[in-house]
C-alpha cells in the first residue's frame, strides 16, 4: 500500500469500488455538506469533493472534505490548477493531509469563462499531468516540486480524470498513458453514455496493458429527463450522448423520465462491470444524490465491503 | 434656420454615379444645387480621411456613390467604400453626431433619374436634420457676440 486511503485498499482487494460526488455549497453552509454527504454515507467508498466546479465559487474542497471526514466518510479532494499556483496547491495538499484527507483527484479545471467570475485570471501554473507528478513526488520522494525536503510528506492516493470521448479520439489512450506515467494511481472517467465507444477505448487501454497499471472507475451520471440529455449532448464540451438515449427518455412520459434515467444508469453499470479493466464506478448524480443508494443497490454493489 | 440650405458632398465614381449625374444634366432632370460632386476614379479611392475632412470643413452631409454591388470596375472598390463609410459612421456615432449624415449609395451609369432622386432625397433628409453640429455652435457664438 502506498497510502492509508480506503479507496486504495478497496481497489487493491479486488473489489469494484464505488465513489460519488458532492459539490460544496455556495455559502458558509456546513449543514448542506453534511446533508448531501449523509445521503451517500453507507453506499460509497469515498466522495469526491469538487473544487470550484464549473469555475463557480464554492466552499473550498478541503474544508468541505474535512466536514465529510468528521462524519466518518472518506473524501476525495479534487484540485484544479486553474485557481492556484504550485505554492498554494502544495500548501493545501499538506493542509488537507494534516486534517486526515489522503485521496485526491488532479484536474486542470473548467476555464474561468464558464463560471461566475469570467473576468478572473486563470492561473494554470501547472497542468493536470504536472499536478499528478507533483503530488507523487511529494509522496514518494518527500520533496516539494521546487526540490526541498518535506517534513512528514503527505501520502496521497493520486487520481486523475480521463475523457474517453473528447477529440481527437486517437489521443485519448495516449493521454491516459501519460497520466499513468506521471503517477496516477486511479482514474475517474467522464460520464459514459456511448458504451460501444467506451468499450472500444477500454480495449485499446487493455491492449497497451494500462489496465494493469492503474485502477479505472467508470463515470456514470443518471439523466433526470430527455431535456437534460439533450443539454448534455449539445452544450457540455467533450460529452458523447447517443441519440438512442435521448429517444429512450423522450419515449416515456415526463413523470417516468427520472425512473427511466435511473434504469439506463443501472443497465450501463451492469454492462460495464463485465468490461476488462473497469475497477469500479464513479456515480455523479448532479443535485440528485438521494438516488445514488438506489443505483448502488440495484447493481449489486451493496453492501460496500468493510476494510 | 428656416432658410437652411445644406452643403452636401457627393463622392461619385467615374464609372457610374458621375456618368449618371452627367446624364441627369443632359436630360435636364432637376437635382438640387446643394450637392457638390467630387469625381473619383472608383469609390475604393475614397478614404476615411477624405470623408472626415469634408465634415471638418463644414459639410452638413456626405454620400459616397459607387457602382451596384458586384459591378465595380475594379472588382471590389465599392465594397471597400462601404466598409469605410461604416467606419466613419462609427466615429460620428462616438462623437455624438447623427450617422444619417453619411451614406453609401449604389447606382449604375444609366440611372440618371436615380442620381437626381437620390440627390433630392438626401438633401431633404439633411434639411430635416439641420446644419452640421459644427455650424450650430458657431452660429450661436456669432449671435452671442452680436447680442
Amino acid at each position: 500500500m502506498k497510502t492509508e486511503s480506503r479507496l486504495e485498499k478497496i481497489l487493491a482487494s479486488g473489489n469494484l469500488a464505488v465513489t460519488s460526488e458532492c459539490g460544496p455549497p455556495r455559502g458558509a453552509l456546513p449543514e448542506k455538506v453534511k446533508e448531501k454527504a449523509s445521503l451517500l454515507k453507507d453506499h460509497v467508498d469515498a466522495v469526491n469533493v469538487t473544487d470550484n466546479q464549473t469555475a463557480m465559487v464554492r466552499m473550498s474542497s478541503w474544508a468541505a472534505g474535512v466536514i465529510i471526514k468528521q462524519m466518518g466518510m472518506d473524501p476525495i479532494l479534487q484540485m484544479v490548477t486553474r485557481d492556484r499556483n504550485r505554492l498554494a496547491m502544495q500548501s493545501d495538499i499538506i493542509g488537507a493531509y494534516s486534517l486526515g484527507i489522503n485521496t485526491m483527484l488532479c484536474l486542470s479545471g473548467d476555464h474561468p469563462k464558464f463560471g461566475d467570475h469570467p473576468m478572473a485570471k486563470g492561473v494554470f501554473d501547472l497542468d493536470s499531468v504536472q499536478l499528478v507528478q507533483m503530488v507523487k513526488k511529494m509522496r514518494d520522494e518527500g520533496k516539494f516540486q521546487g526540490g526541498a525536503d518535506i517534513q512528514n510528506p503527505p501520502k496521497m492516493f493520486v487520481g486523475a480524470a480521463a475523457n474517453p470521448f473528447a477529440d481527437p479520439f486517437e489521443l485519448r489512450v495516449m493521454r491516459l498513458a501519460k497520466k499513468i506515467k506521471a503517477g496516477a494511481d486511479f482514474i475517474q472517467t467522464q460520464c459514459i453514455y456511448n458504451l460501444d465507444k467506451f468499450e472500444k477505448y477500454m480495449k485499446m487501454v487493455c491492449d497497451r496493458g494500462l489496465d494493469k497499471q492503474v485502477y479505472i472507475l467508470a463515470g456514470i451520471t443518471p439523466m433526470k429527463s430527455a431535456g437534460m440529455a439533450r443539454y448534455m449532448k449539445n452544450k457540455v464540451p467533450g460529452m458523447d450522448v447517443p441519440d438512442e438515449i435521448i429517444k429512450r427518455l423522450a419515449g416515456v412520459s415526463k413523470e417516468e423520465q427520472p425512473e427511466e434515467g435511473i434504469k439506463i444508469a443501472v443497465e450501463s453499470i451492469q454492462r460495464l462491470k463485465e468490461v476488462n479493466g473497469v475497477h469500479g464506478f464513479h456515480i455523479m448524480a448532479i443535485e440528485w444524490e438521494e438516488k445514488v443508494p438506489q443505483i448502488v443497490e440495484k447493481t449489486g454493489l451493496f453492501p460496500r465491503p468493510v476494510i | 434656420m428656416e432658410n437652411f440650405e445644406p452643403e452636401i458632398v457627393a463622392f461619385c465614381c467615374h464609372y457610374c454615379a458621375y456618368t449618371a449625374a452627367d446624364m441627369a444634366g443632359s436630360k435636364h432632370i432637376y437635382y438640387p444645387a446643394n450637392v457638390k460632386i467630387i469625381r473619383v476614379p472608383c469609390t475604393g479611392k475614397v478614404d476615411t480621411i477624405h470623408i472626415m475632412k469634408a465634415f471638418e470643413k463644414g459639410a452638413d452631409g456626405v454620400y459616397v456613390a459607387g457602382c451596384l454591388e458586384g459591378d465595380c470596375h475594379f472588382k471590389n472598390g465599392n465594397t471597400r467604400a462601404k466598409y469605410r463609410v461604416e467606419q466613419v459612421q462609427n466615429i460620428l456615432k462616438d462623437l455624438g453626431w447623427e450617422i444619417e449624415r453619411l451614406e453609401m449609395i449604389n447606382m449604375s451609369a444609366g440611372m440618371g433619374e436615380r442620381f437626381a432622386s437620390t440627390a433630392l432625397e438626401f438633401t431633404k433628409k439633411i434639411k430635416q436634420l439641420g446644419p452640421s453640429p459644427i455650424k450650430i455652435i458657431n452660429t450661436e457664438k456669432h449671435q452671442q457676440v452680436a447680442d
Binding site: K113, D127, Q133, A166, D167, Q190 | E56, I134
Partner: protein, 222 residues
C-alpha cells in the same frame, strides 16, 4: 508583431480635454502594419478630435507626427523641436512607445491612444491572431511549431483537455484546439512518439515571473 487597437474615442477625449495643444505621435512599425497607429490612423484620429472640438465651439491645435520607431530613443529624439509647442502628447504606439516618450519628455503628460493587445501574426487581410506570449523559453521545437502557451486557453503543456469538441476549444467554437493542431503536426512529421513524453512543469521565470525582463548585449553596447 505587436498588435494594437485604438481606444474608444470617449476615453481619448477625456484624457486630452484639459489641453489645447496636442502632439499626436504615430509609429511606423507594428502599429502601422496592424492599422492601429500609423500615419493614416494618426490623421483620422486628429480629424475626429478636431470635429469633436469644433462641435463644442472650441479649437484644438493638433500636430501630427509619425516616427520611424517610437520604442527607440534615437527616433523619439526627433520630437525635441515640437515638444515645447505641445501641452500634452498623445501616442498611438504600443505601450513600449508610450513609455519611451514618457521617459524622454518627463515634463509633458503622455497618454496612450491605443490598447496594446498581443504578439500576433496576420492570418488574412484584417485579421491578426495571438501566436506568442514571449515565455522566454521557446517550446516550438518540440510541439511541431504550434505554441501551447499562447494558443491553448489553459496553457496546458500536456494537452488536450477533455473539453475539445470537433477539434475546437471549449471556450469558443471559433478557436482551434492548440493540442489538436499540435497532434496533427506531429503526426504529419512522423513524430507521434514525442506526444507521450511528459512536458515537465514550466519554469516561468524567463516568462516574466522573475521580474521585468531585460536583454544586455555587451558586444553591441557603445
Amino acid at each position: 508583431m505587436i498588435t494594437a487597437e485604438q481606444k474608444p474615442l470617449k476615453e481619448i477625449i477625456e484624457y486630452i480635454s484639459p489641453y489645447d495643444r496636442i502632439l499626436l505621435v504615430g509609429c511606423n512599425e507594428c502599429v502601422t502594419v496592424c492599422a492601429a497607429g500609423g500615419r493614416k490612423e494618426v490623421g483620422l484620429l486628429a480629424s475626429a478630435l478636431n470635429l469633436n472640438c469644433l462641435k463644442q465651439g472650441r479649437t484644438i491645435d493638433i500636430k501630427e507626427i509619425t516616427l520611424e520607431r517610437q520604442c527607440d530613443p534615437e527616433y523619439v529624439e526627433e520630437l525635441v523641436s515640437e515638444i515645447d509647442r505641445a501641452d500634452a502628447i498623445l501616442s498611438m504606439a504600443c505601450g513600449c512607445g508610450v513609455q519611451t516618450i514618457a521617459e524622454r519628455y518627463k515634463e509633458k503628460p503622455v497618454f496612450p491612444a491605443v490598447n496594446t493587445k498581443f504578439m500576433g501574426a496576420s492570418v488574412s487581410q484584417g485579421i491578426w491572431a495571438e501566436r506568442c506570449q514571449g515565455c522566454g523559453d521557446c517550446l516550438l521545437g518540440i510541439t511541431g511549431g504550434i505554441c501551447p502557451v499562447a494558443r491553448c486557453s489553459k496553457h496546458l503543456l500536456n494537452g488536450p483537455c477533455g473539453g475539445t469538441s470537433n477539434g475546437m476549444c471549449e471556450i469558443d467554437p471559433d478557436v482551434d484546439c492548440a493540442w489538436r493542431l499540435i497532434w496533427e503536426r506531429l503526426k504529419a512529421l512522423g513524430m507521434e512518439k514525442r506526444y507521450e513524453e511528459i512536458m515537465e512543469a514550466k519554469d516561468w521565470r524567463p516568462a516574466g515571473g522573475g521580474g521585468p525582463r531585460k536583454i544586455v548585449r555587451e558586444d553591441l553596447s557603445l
